[in-house]
Amino acid sequence: MTAKRNAIAALLAIVALWPVAHRVLVARYGIDPWKLGAFAMYATPNLPVLVAVVGTTTSGTTVIDEAALPVWVRRDLDRFRVERAALGTLRDPEDVGRAILAARPDVTSVGILIQRTTLDPATATIRVATPRYVYTR
């Protein structure tokens, strides 16, 4: 019975303490407050994380037509969108950037642009962060 009591106490400790670690991860890496079981849903708005892909050719930089990418690259990109929204900067886009670069031999570099939108608690206004990742051959 002592073993069961200890196991139950440990489980409850995880439920109680994980949200503290989760809050640190949200602040440090921008993980989704609404996900990963820390019960912070409805504590802050959860706007979609937007991801766009651009490619540079000899004639300039344009948005890459995702529909024209091979199906496995599109699948990876869709998966990246989901994981990036949930895991923040813990999910690096390098593998997806390299896959797009390999699928588009005509481009010399691929840029992945991400827009994460939050509500600033001090001013109650929208704050936008737009990190950009560039991968070259």
Binding site: L12, P19, W34, G37, A40, L119, I126, V128
Partner: protein, 293 residues
């Protein structure tokens, strides 16, 4: 600490009866939720979903056989863990609550020796989760001035119907005019005192009610208040999944007849949800709109 959530009036038989009905409702919820998942256009592996559904159906059957009922959660737990792996990292929080509760129930044994301990564990889980939601609202800082609810009203999103009625029409129009994707939009802040008061009452209730349900003297009143609070809030959020789970967890603190009534009502509702999801009853659109996944 665990004993604080105990209930000497219940005795061993009382604890077993409470766990029995909670287990039935919890596993039935797992079945209903999984059936809903199979009807959605979610990118979930259908073979894993089907296998986990089969396990959950077996668990539901076991939950209704008193001699085998404690096996139900042990059978359900691997199915839920497979679903957790399948949905990660988009797994909804009410699913984590379902997993934690199932894991706690798995400690119950046929002899009933751990029933009181498991019941205390489930009650602590209930109190901790409600307290954590209040702490998170404080930590993110969007409730003190009502910013989060003002944002939701502006977006016409969940909670808008529940809280917008205290705001003047021009305030609602102002909040709705902001582009939520443009930096500097806002402020999502209103001058309405009743609105800000309601916003603050949310986190205050979430911090105070757990203490109320744990203390034996205030348990019944706090449990009824918490049930009303959670039902109202989850109606506003259109979160049927969290509402069903959490009301059944709160029912573990309630007088036994009320607890059994909550479980029985939930079981009937889950039956309706399954039939609606499968298109046998009308309401499949409603099932999708109420965040059951």
């Amino acid at each position: 600490m665990l004993a604080l959530a105990g209930d000497p009036v219940d005795g061993d038989t009382g604890a077993r009866e409470r766990l029995r009905w909670f287990r039935r409702a919890l596993v039935a919820w797992g079945v209903a939720r999984t059936v809903v998942w199979t009807t959605l256009d979610a990118p979930l592996d259908p073979s894993v979903l089907a296998a986990s559904l089969a396990l959950l159906v077996v668990a539901l059957g076991l939950a209704w056989v008193p001699r085998l009922e404690t096996l139900a959660s042990r059978v359900a737990l691997p199915a839920l863990l497979a679903q957790l792996a399948l949905t990660f990292p988009l797994t909804p929080n009410h699913f984590f609550l379902e997993v934690w509760a199932t894991a706690l129930l798995a400690f119950a044994d046929r002899a009933g020796a751990a029933d009181a301990l498991v019941l205390a564990g489930l009650r602590w889980l209930t109190a901790i989760v409600l307290f954590v939601t209040g702490c998170q609202k404080l930590a993110y800082g969007h409730y003190r001035h009502g910013d989060f609810l003002a944002f939701m009203v502006g977006r016409g999103d969940r909670f808008a119907d529940l809280f917008a009625w205290v705001l003047p029409a021009d305030e609602i129009a102002r909040l709705g005019s902001y582009d939520a994707f443009r930096g500097g939009s806002g402020p999502y802040r209103v001058a309405s005192v009743p609105f800000v008061l309601m916003s603050n009452l949310v986190w205050i209730a979430e911090l105070a009610l757990p203490a109320g349900v744990l203390a034996a003297r205030t348990r019944t009143v706090a449990t009824v208040a918490a049930m009303a609070f959670v039902a109202a809030l989850q109606l506003g959020a259109r979160e049927a999944g969290f509402a069903f789970l959490y009301l059944n967890l709160l029912a573990l603190f309630a007088p036994a007849p009320l607890a059994k009534g909550v479980a029985a009502t939930s079981l009937a509702a889950f039956g309706g949800i399954v039939l609606a999801a499968l298109g046998i009853l009308p309401g499949s659109a409603l099932v999708r709109a109420w965040h059951l996944w």
